[in-house]
C-alpha cells in the first residue's frame, strides 16, 4: 500500500469518526421526540416553547398578546419595561413585524402606541388594552 493511500484511508476514517461524533444519535432521537410532541401545537405555541424565547418566555407571550390586541393601522409600537438587548430587540421586531417597533426608545415617535411589559403605567398615556403581563397604551389626549 502506498503512503498516499494510507494517508487517504487514515484521514477519511478519522474525519468520518469526528463527524459521526457530532451527529450523536441520542441527541437526534431527543430532537425527533420533541418534534413529534410539539407538532400538534399551533406555530405560535411552538415558537413560545422554542430557543428564541428561552431568555424570557413570559416576554414572548406578552409580545404575542400585544400583537393580537394591536389596533388595525397602528403606526408603530414602542416596547417599554425591558432592557434594550439584542435578544429583546430582535425578538420584538420579528414577532411584531411588519409593524415598526422600537425597544426602550428615548422618545416615542408621534402617533405610536406603547406596549409596557410590567406594572408601570407612564403618565399621559391611557390603557387601550390589557395584555399578558402588561398593557397597550395610547396618548391620553
Amino acid at each position: 500500500m502506498s503512503l498516499r493511500r494510507a494517508a487517504l484511508g487514515v484521514a477519511s476514517a478519522l474525519l468520518l469518526l469526528l463527524l459521526l461524533r457530532q451527529n450523536d444519535p441520542g441527541r437526534l432521537g431527543r430532537r425527533a421526540g420533541l418534534l413529534f410532541r410539539s407538532a400538534p401545537f399551533d406555530s405560535k405555541t411552538r415558537r413560545l416553547n422554542g430557543t428564541a424565547a428561552a431568555f424570557d418566555r413570559q416576554f414572548s407571550v406578552f409580545l404575542e398578546s400585544a400583537r393580537r390586541n394591536l389596533p388595525a393601522g397602528a403606526r408603530g409600537l414602542a416596547v417599554l419595561g425591558v432592557p434594550r438587548t439584542n435578544q429583546v430587540l430582535y425578538l420584538a421586531v420579528y414577532q411584531l413585524a411588519p409593524t415598526p417597533v422600537l425597544v426602550a426608545p428615548e422618545q416615542v415617535p408621534p402617533g405610536w402606541l406603547l406596549a409596557i411589559y410590567g406594572p408601570e403605567r407612564p403618565a399621559g398615556w391611557k390603557v387601550i388594552a390589557p395584555v399578558w403581563k402588561g398593557a397597550l397604551m395610547a396618548p391620553a389626549s
Binding site: 498516499r4 493511500r5 494517508a7 487517504l8 487514515v10 484521514a11 477519511s12 478519522l14 474525519l15 468520518l16 469526528l18 463527524l19 459521526l20 457530532q22 451527529n23 437526534l28 430532537r31 425527533a32 420533541l34 418534534l35 410539539s38 407538532a39 400538534p40 401545537f41 399551533d42 406555530s43 411552538r46 415558537r47 416553547n49 422554542g50 430557543t51 428564541a52 439584542n86 435578544q87 430587540l89 430582535y90 425578538l91 421586531v93 420579528y94 413585524a97 411588519p98 415598526p100 417597533v101 422600537l102
Partner: protein, 452 residues
C-alpha cells in the same frame, strides 16, 4: 394530517414543484448526456430562483404575488420550449446500461449511502425541531421576508429606517424574497415549516457534488464518500445556521466552483451559462458573493495562458451578473455602506492602525476558530496531501482558500473590532466553503486510481 405535518407537506409540495420546473429548465444548462443527480441539483437552484424572482416581479407588474410564480414558470417553460423536450437529457444510459450500473452497486456503496441518508435525516431533525430561531434569522433574513410578505411590498424603511440598521439593509434580498414567495404560496407566514427548505438545499448540494464528481471521472465510491462526509458536517448543517443565508450560499458556492472549473476546462458548451447563473445566485444570496466573483475572475485570469477564449468567456460569465446585480441594487436601494466595516482603515489617516488589526484578526482566528478545529483540519490537510495535482480540484481548493483567507483578514476592518467579527462570523462563513472544499479534495483524489 394537521398542524405542522400538513404545513410541512405543503412546503414540500412547493419545493418539489419548484424543483420539477427547474429540472425541465435545466435542459438549457446541461448537454443531453448530463446526469440526473447534477441536473436535479441545478434544477432546484433554478426553480427556487424563479420562485424568489417572482416576488419583485409581482410587485413591479402588480400581479398577485401568489400567482406570479405560476405565470413566471409557465412563461419560462414556454419561452424555452422545453415543454417538448423534457424527456431529453434525463439519462444518457440505455436501459441495458442502467441495469448494468445497478448491478455494480456494492456493499461499500450501500454503506456510504446509509451514511449520506443518516446525515440528511440528522440535519432534517436539527432544522425542523422548532421554528427557525437564530439571531440572524430573526434580525435579518426572516425579518425581511416577513415584512415583505406582510406588507405585500418592499417597504423603503427596510433600506432607510435607522432603527432597522441591525437588519443590514445592504445585504442582498434573494433569501428574503424566497421566504416571501413560499409564504405567498402557502397563504401565511410559517417560520417552522419553511425550515424544510434547508434540508432540501443540503440534499441538492449533495446531488450536485456527487453528479459533478462522477461526470469528472470519480469512482462511485469516491463520489459517495465525499457526499457522505459532507452530509455529516454538522457545523454547516446545524440548527443554528438554519434560517440564515450560509446553507443556501454554500450551495451557490459549490455550483459556482464546479461551473468555473467546467468553463475553464471547456468540458461542454453549457458551462459558461451555468457559471453565469451560479454567479447570479451567489451574489444575490450574500455579499460574500462579490468576493467569490472577484476570486473567480482572478482564477480565470490565471488560466489565461491555457486558453484565451475560455478565460474571457468565464470571466465575463462571472463578472456580468455580479455587476448587473450590484448596479441594480445601487439604483434601487441607494448607496448603503457596509454596516460592520470601516473602509477608512484602508485610507491614509488610519492605515497605520490596520496592521495591528490584521494581527488581531489572525491571532483571534487562530486561537478561537482554527486551533479548536485542529483534528478535522489535520484530516483535511492529509486528504489534500494524499491527492495529486488535478486542474479542476486545484482550482476549487484555490478558490476556497482565497475566500477563507479573505474571511480571516476582512474582519480587521470591522467597526466593533476584529475579534468581535472573527468570533461571530469566521467559523460559519468558512463552513459555507466546505462543499467547495469537498469537491476540490475529491477531484484531486480521483486520479489516485481508486476503483469501485
Amino acid at each position: 394530517m394537521s398542524g405542522l405535518w400538513l404545513s410541512l407537506a405543503q412546503v414540500a409540495a412547493i419545493l418539489l414543484a419548484a424543483g420539477a420546473i427547474g429540472y425541465a429548465l435545466a435542459a438549457f444548462l446541461f448537454p443531453v448526456s448530463s446526469r440526473r443527480s447534477e441536473r436535479a441539483a441545478w434544477g432546484l437552484a433554478l426553480g427556487l430562483s424563479l420562485l424568489a424572482a417572482s416576488v419583485p416581479l409581482a410587485f413591479l407588474t402588480r400581479l398577485p404575488p401568489r400567482w406570479a410564480p405560476f405565470i413566471l414558470a409557465a412563461l419560462s417553460l414556454a419561452a424555452s420550449g422545453v415543454l417538448h423536450h423534457t424527456g431529453q437529457g434525463a439519462s444518457s444510459l440505455s436501459p441495458r446500461e442502467r441495469e448494468r450500473v445497478k448491478g455494480l452497486m456494492k456493499p461499500t456503496h450501500f454503506l456510504l449511502l446509509v451514511l449520506v441518508a443518516f446525515g440528511v435525516v440528522g440535519y432534517a431533525l436539527r432544522a425542523l425541531t422548532e421554528p427557525m430561531w437564530s439571531n440572524d434569522f430573526l434580525a435579518i433574513w426572516g425579518l425581511k421576508g416577513k415584512i415583505i410578505f406582510a406588507a405585500g411590498a418592499v417597504p423603503r424603511r427596510l433600506f432607510d429606517d435607522l432603527s432597522l440598521g441591525f437588519s443590514h439593509p445592504e445585504y442582498p434580498l434573494g433569501l428574503p424574497f424566497l421566504y416571501a414567495a413560499i409564504s405567498f404560496l402557502l397563504g401565511r407566514w410559517d417560520d417552522h415549516a419553511m425550515a424544510l427548505l434547508f434540508p432540501f438545499l443540503q440534499a441538492a448540494t449533495l446531488l450536485a457534488l456527487f453528479g459533478w464528481l462522477r461526470r469528472r471521472g470519480a469512482s462511485r465510491a469516491l463520489a459517495l464518500g465525499a457526499a457522505a462526509l459532507l452530509a455529516l458536517f454538522e457545523p454547516l448543517y446545524s440548527a443554528f445556521l438554519t434560517g440564515m443565508a450560509d446553507v443556501p450560499y454554500s450551495f451557490a458556492v459549490l455550483l459556482f466552483g464546479m461551473a468555473l472549473a467546467d468553463a475553464l476546462d471547456q468540458t461542454d458548451a453549457f458551462a459558461t451559462r451555468r457559471l453565469a447563473f451560479a454567479s447570479f445566485l451567489a451574489v444575490s444570496t450574500k455579499n460574500e458573493g462579490l468576493l467569490l466573483a472577484a476570486a473567480g475572475v482572478f482564477l480565470a485570469v490565471l488560466a489565461l495562458r491555457k486558453s484565451r477564449p475560455a478565460w474571457r468567456r468565464a470571466a465575463a460569465a462571472v463578472a456580468a451578473p455580479a455587476i448587473v446585480l450590484l448596479l441594480a441594487g445601487r439604483l434601487w436601494k441607494g448607496s448603503l455602506p457596509l454596516r460592520d466595516f470601516d473602509l477608512a482603515y484602508l485610507g491614509p489617516t488610519l492605515i497605520l492602525e490596520l496592521l495591528p488589526r490584521v494581527g488581531e484578526s489572525i491571532h483571534t482566528g487562530l486561537r478561537e476558530v482554527i486551533l479548536p478545529a485542529w483534528p478535522g483540519l489535520l484530516c483535511v490537510l492529509l486528504l489534500a496531501a494524499a491527492g495529486r495535482r488535478a486542474p479542476a480540484g486545484d482550482r476549487l481548493l484555490l478558490l476556497a482558500s482565497i475566500c477563507a483567507v479573505a474571511y480571516l483578514l476582512v474582519p480587521s476592518l470591522a467597526v466593533p473590532g476584529p475579534a468581535w467579527l472573527i468570533r461571530t462570523s469566521l467559523a460559519r462563513t468558512v463552513c459555507a466553503l466546505s462543499p467547495l472544499a469537498a469537491a476540490g479534495l475529491a477531484a484531486r483524489l480521483r486520479i489516485e486510481g481508486l476503483k469501485d
